[in-house]
């Protein structure tokens, strides 16, 4: 909440989580697509994220298959982005005079998004609390201008600020409330259920079929002409296509957790998802939000 207020005060549009299963906050179209093209952009949002292979049946103190990321994206990256970021840590109660904050080299790459950037992982007293990235390429396109992306792992950050070693023990509401609830009370049961489903029960044939369907639908959407015959307007459907791409990516993660993807196949699947992302990125730069205008198209 304090992060929301802080970044809203710094001029970011505070968005809602994207309503699909994603592996990380970066997949939100507000980051992936909006990082493309020249139109300025500034947004902040929480994104529930799913990484099926990280499931530990709710037993791990700091690993869950469903977790929360806080994501900030600003294009072009402002010159004082580091200072802004440090301000956000102060806003959530980390005193810069008492803690050891460090920017440690960590370059980011997402093969499925066809994206990479340079930056750091940010350490607070030796613990990684955020990822800080200057996007150089997304969906195979050079980022011009460059977006600055900040990602906070909310569970870890909360554990740190609240001083808990086990994330499941963190209070989720007011500990003095009539019904006090911890993080574990809220999520542990679901974690166990998903872990079982992700690892052992999910039907791989169905998942695979869904993957193929998403792939086909994505291609079909993008094959449509830009001009809509019904309204007569130019409507490039980059985002609906990108939804299919998100779907395919999550299905791939599920298949991976089921252990049915061999090492060599893995590369091939990642390549297939990347092909979709690149196609969506190509489409997005043909939209107004992606910087398209009839003049510069001509």
């Amino acid at each position: 909440m304090r992060l929301q207020n802080y970044w809203a005060a710094k001029g970011c549009a505070v968005l809602q989580p994207y309503d699909m299963e994603v592996g990380a906050g970066t997949f939100h179209p507000a980051t992936t697509l909006r990082a493309l093209g020249s139109t300025p952009w500034a947004a902040a949002y929480v994104q529930p994220s799913r990484r099926p292979t990280d499931g530990r049946y709710g037993d791990s103190p700091n690993r869950w298959q469903h977790y929360y990321q806080y994501q900030v994206i600003i294009k072009p990256s402002p010159p004082d982005l580091q200072a802004l970021y440090l301000g956000s840590l102060e806003a959530i109660g980390i005193d810069m005079k008492m803690h050891d904050i460090r920017f440690v080299e960590d370059d980011w790459e997402s093969p499925t998004l066809g994206a990479w950037g340079l930056g750091w992982e940010v350490w607070c007293d030796g613990m990684e609390v955020s990822q800080f990235t200057y996007f150089q390429q997304v969906g195979g396109h050079d980022c011009k201008p460059v977006s600055g992306e900040l990602t906070y792992g909310l569970e870890r950050l909360a554990m740190y600020v609240l001083g808990f070693d086990d994330g499941n023990e963190m209070p989720f509401n007011d500990p003095d409330a009539p019904i006090p609830l911890t993080y574990g009370d809220v999520f542990r049961e679901a974690e166990a259920q998903y872990a079982r489903w992700n690892f052992d029960v999910a039907d791989t044939d169905t998942l695979l079929q869904h993957f193929k369907d998403a792939e086909a639908e994505c291609a079909r959407i993008l094959a449509e002409p830009a001009d809509d015959p019904k309204t007569g307007r130019r409507i490039v459907m980059a985002q609906p296509a990108y939804d299919q791409c998100i779907k395919a990516s999550h299905l791939f993660n599920l298949l991976d957790a089921r252990g049915v993807i061999s090492v060599t196949e893995r590369q091939a699947y990642i390549g297939r998802v990347r092909t979709l992302t690149v196609a969506c990125a190509d489409a997005f730069v043909q939209t107004a939000a992606g910087g398209y205008s009839p003049e510069n198209a001509a």
């Binding site: 803690h99 050891d100 340079l118 007293d125």
Partner: protein
Amino acid sequence: MPDLLIELFSEEIPARMQGKAADDLKKLVTNGLVEAGLTYASAGAFSTPRRLTLSVDGLLAASPAVKEERKGPKVGAPEQAMAGFLRSTGLSEDQLEARDDKKGQVWFAVIDKPGRPAAEIVAEVLEHTIRTFPWPKSMRWGAGTLRWVRPLHSILCILSDETGAEVVDLDIDGIKSGDTTRGHRFMAPDAFSVTSFDDYAAKLKRAKVVLDASERADHIWADATNQAFAQGMEVVEDRGLLAEVAGLVEWPVVLMGKIEEQFLDLPPEVLKTSMKEHQKFFSVKNPKSGRIEQYVTVANIETSDQGATILAGNGRVLSARLADGKFFWENDLRIAKGDKMQPWIDALENVTFHNKLGSQKERIERIAALAREIAPAVGADPDLAEQAARVAKADLSSEMVYEFPELQGLMGRYYADAAGMPPEVGAACEEHYSPLGPSDDVPTAPVSVAVALADKIDTFTAFWAMNELPSGSKDPYALRRSALGLFRLLSENNHNVSIAELLHRSFDERLAVTAKMLRNVIGKEASDEKKAIVEEELLIIQATAEKRKHSLLTFLHDRLKVFLKDKGVRHDIIDACIAMEGSDDLNLLVKRAEALSDALKTDDGENLIQGFKRANNILSKEEEKDGVSYELDPDIKFAENDEEKALFKALDTAEAVIKPAMEQGDFATAMAAMAKLRGPIDAFFEATQVNSDNPIVRRNRLCLLHRIRTICGGVADLTKVEG
């Protein structure tokens, strides 16, 4: 003479890049200055996580004026040629001089290049340096196009002398140069201006920044060892880590903490690796218990609680990490003790070693068979060698090695020991990857050597079988390094092994697998015609294998030349030894080449080559002329002079020494005896005409020369030696 100070202030530069970047800055700027005529007295470069700094002392205030002469077209040359020359020189025709040249009068342009002020040159050179800086990875930021390792914030660039400092004006994509910088990010973030390098370094220190990386490293090391000493402990030295940590802080604050009791029984290497890789901590050992019990972390800030909060936070992170480590260790031990690592070996079936080479498990089968074969030659028990080869790579499936790949082998030893296997097996798990580099120790335990050799030979044949060879700078599987390891394993342990035989076996094993596969594919029911086709195909494969085997042996010999060249042995000497029979015994080959090299370094040895070649040339010529080979024993009774008789005796003496010495592989003695022939041979040629008129004497002398050839040729093929 002014001094120059440059500081490029940016967001955090990766630690691993800082040192080279400082050197590059110095090189590029000073080279640029000198090229433009600005010489200097001395220069020094520094780096911190946020800045690269260059200080140049005693710079010329301006570049000297120079006169440049350029030759133009002939007098009376076509209009066009003149116009072009005038344009390129920027002069008019009346400013040119006509001078006499070999072919008549020619126009010359004399261009006065006035000296340029230092500031102008510095600005140019620095801008060019920044725009073309060789970062291993660089990036753009914001809406700009400039590339730097991370966003560049400010440029400090001043020229200073006794009269004061002057900013060198520079504007690179909106970043204007100035005379200000900033101190520590948290402890002294305000900007301040500086007037010289001394002023800069002093003010930085007050602003909690130690400019010099080696000073930071020294401080860290001194403080860490002091704190440890005070508690009767020792810091485990790690220079790489020290350099890295010095590149992560501008103001090092050393803090020492305790590892929780429950983790102290983890293998020390696990503690060390986990702390180093994840947390950049130094390990602190208790010399009494021999255990790693504490750690040193280096913070970048002084706090009012003397780092208590920071240390507590770091301790929490460490405990979480070590809890993972402990979890892996205990799980692994269960499998090692309970199932003797078998599940791991089975799991290797699903691990691809290389997509054309099948699974790790298949590879292990081959290595085990080969290790068994090699064992007797290196004094190892074949059963143990086979057993060791089977489990040597099992730890690759363990959780610990998955987490820390650099612990491969070492964990294998812990787990083999835990499984109650013989100590030789555990040792082989750990040592069979060695030697990895030229400074790495070579294993000496026979079982370890057998497995290490088998592992390397299987790798060679595997890549040669599919014809994926190292070429140029490309050697993704480090086969050249493996070759070096192979030589060291053999020569440092003094093992005589016929490599050709092992390669033969290793290739045969592969062929057998291929043959079986092909025959299975076609099936027993296939027609005779089809079966014949398969058999024919197999013959072709076999022939190819023969070629590859030969190519592999050549590769090994070539690498051996590189290996021996580093030891000061000339390539022609190695060729002379490779040409001898049994040169696939690499240990023998190394010894022979070294002995020959030593012998040839002596005066006798060097001159013997001349004598030998003379003898050999005469003999070859006469043999060709006569169409016969003078192989018969010469007889001393036909010797006409003392020198000739002396040579007979010398050859007898030499042969009596060389033969047994060679049989024992004592090349040094053999070569020394051979070198002693120099005197008698030289004297013989001095006093004797080989082609005597008396055909009996002539034939006898040619047979004598043949004896020289045979005796010397038994030591090495001296015809290949240059000189």
